[in-house]
Structures are given as C-alpha cells and as structure tokens.
C-alpha cells in the first residue's frame, strides 16, 4: 500500500517535471526540471527494489551529466528558445507523433492489464549491489569491457575537439582555419539577429 502511494506521488512529480522541461523556454529552467525527473525516477527505482540503480541514477545523471549540461548552458549564456518561429508544420508533426505514442501507451497498458501474469516476484535480492556486481564480472564481462572502451573513446574525442578549437584564440581565426565557412555563417546569423 505504501509502495502504491509512493509510486503515484513520484509518478506525478516525474510527469509534471517532464512537462515543465518541454514547456519552459529558458534552457536553465528546463535543466532544473530534468533534474526533478531524474530524482523522481530514482525514488521510483527504490520502490522497485533496485537501490543500486537508484544510487547510480543520482550519481551519474543528476550528478555528472546534468552538471555538464548546466555548465555548458552557463558558459554559452544562451538566450531564450523561441520555439518554432520558422517551421510551423512541425506543430502537426509533433502533435501527430505524440498522439500516436499516447495511443500506443494506452494499448500497452490495456494489454498488460489483461495479461495473466501480474504478480510481483517476491525475490527482493535481485537489485542488490552484490548480485549486480557478481553478474557484471562473470556473465556480462565482455559488454562491461566494451562500455569501458567506449567511455575512453568519448574522453579522447572530447579532448581532441577542445584542443583543436583552442588553438585559435578568437572566432575569426577559427573561421579562417576552417575555410572561411564559419565566418560567413557568423555574419549571416548576426544579420538574422538584427532583423528580429
């Protein structure tokens, strides 16, 4: 009973934060809403008897990734996102896609409600760190190694990207190095901003 109450509490929090994420035009407000979604989902993972995943959710998502996102938003000093000022037909695309996905969600809900197996398995030791670590380093050793290599590649790629850009200290130098394309682009976007 307590689990059900907590589930609906945090499910409401997650959906409200997600709607706030899409609604707000300021990227910083969106980022804070996304942190709300992550924390609500971590609480729902706890009601699902998965404490390890809940801890990793807070550490990796709310801790590492969102700090990076907020750092980039503050570094770039972004203006408000005036959504869809040029492409009006995307309203219909987005509305249609949302409608289709919602119908699918209700279909899945209905089908799973009708399915015979509804009882939760009472084995609560599955989500414990001990079990996850044991199967991570025995049965799923190769995927874990591959993920490690992938993270190394991402780190090297990020370092190379930053290093090449920081050789030219200002915008103009970078643009000349990359064949003058960026420079004309900058002028164009400046003109567009002046028109607005």
């Amino acid at each position: 009973m307590v689990t059900t109450v907590f589930f609906f509490l945090f499910a409401g929090l997650a959906i409200a934060s997600a709607i706030s994420l899409v609604y707000h035009k300021n990227p910083l407000y969106s980022a804070v809403s996304l942190i709300g979604v992550f924390i609500a989902l971590a609480c729902i993972y706890i009601t699902l008897a998965a404490p390890f995943i809940a801890a990793v959710q807070i550490l990796v998502y709310a801790g590492a990734i969102m700090v990076l996102v907020v750092f980039v938003i503050m570094l770039l000093n972004l203006e408000d996102d005036n959504a869809l000022n040029r492409l009006k037909y995307l309203y219909f695309v987005g509305g249609g896609l949302g409608l289709i996905l919602l119908v699918q969600t209700f279909f899945v809900f209905y089908a799973v409600m009708r399915a015979p197996k509804q009882t939760v398995n009472q084995n609560e030791t599955v989500g414990k760190t001990l079990n996850i670590g044991a199967s991570m380093y025995t049965e799923y050793l190769l995927p874990v190694e591959i993920v490690g290599v992938l993270l190394l590649m991402a780190i090297i790629g990020g370092v190379i990207m930053v290093r090449r850009l920081s050789e030219g200290n200002n915008l103009r130098q970078v643009s000349v190095e990359t064949g003058n394309v960026g420079d004309t682009g900058k002028v164009e976007s400046d003109l567009k901003k002046a028109e607005r």
Binding site: T4, F7, V22, Y45, Q57, L97, L102, F109, G157, S189
Partner: protein, 101 residues
C-alpha cells in the same frame, strides 16, 4: 499491494511521449539533448520494472549500460554543441544548414 506492471509501463510511455514531442518542438540543441535524455530514462524505467517483475538481473545491467552510453553521448554531444556555437554564435538547430546548399 504493489502497483501493477502496467502502471510502470504507462508511466514510461507517457514520459517517452513527452520526450519525443519535446525533441520536435524544441529548436535549441541543448533542449533537444535534454529531451533525448528524458526518453532514455523512460526506457530505463521499463527495464527496471521488468527486472523487478521477473526477478532477473539482466534488465538492471542493461540500465547500467544505457547510463554509460548516455554519459559518453553527453561528453561528445556537448563538445559538438560548443564547437557549433563557436562557429555560428547560436545553438539553434535551424542554423545548422550548411550542407543543405
């Protein structure tokens, strides 16, 4: 009494829908990036729910893999966004149209 598996799947589907609609409505590269993270989290929720209801640890391990890939994606994606901003002084995806002409 526990919430049924269908409730978790419904929550996941609703979150995924909001994320997918957000990717189309947002014109800001960072906003789109955050909506993609929301969709990844919705899928993670289904993995954990099935892992709970079938008492199988595989789902939770796959969630771990998804989180690692999301971290790598964040590092590379934000690097690309910064590089784009340095060239165009904007993160509006409509300005990323050099290849069109």
């Amino acid at each position: 009494m526990e919430p049924s598996l269908a409730s978790y799947l419904a929550l996941s589907g609703i979150l995924f829908t909001i994320g997918a609609v957000g990717v189309i409505f947002k014109r800001n590269a960072i906003g789109m990036f955050m909506c993609i993270e929301l969709m990844l989290n919705a899928v993670n929720l289904t993995f954990v729910a099935f892992s709970r209801y079938y008492a199988d640890v595989t789902g939770q391990l796959f969630v771990f893999m998804v989180m690692s890939v999301a971290a790598a994606e964040a590092a590379v994606g934000l690097g690309i966004i910064i590089a784009f901003f340095r060239n165009r002084v904007s993160v509006d995806v409509d300005d990323a149209s050099i290849l069109k002409n």
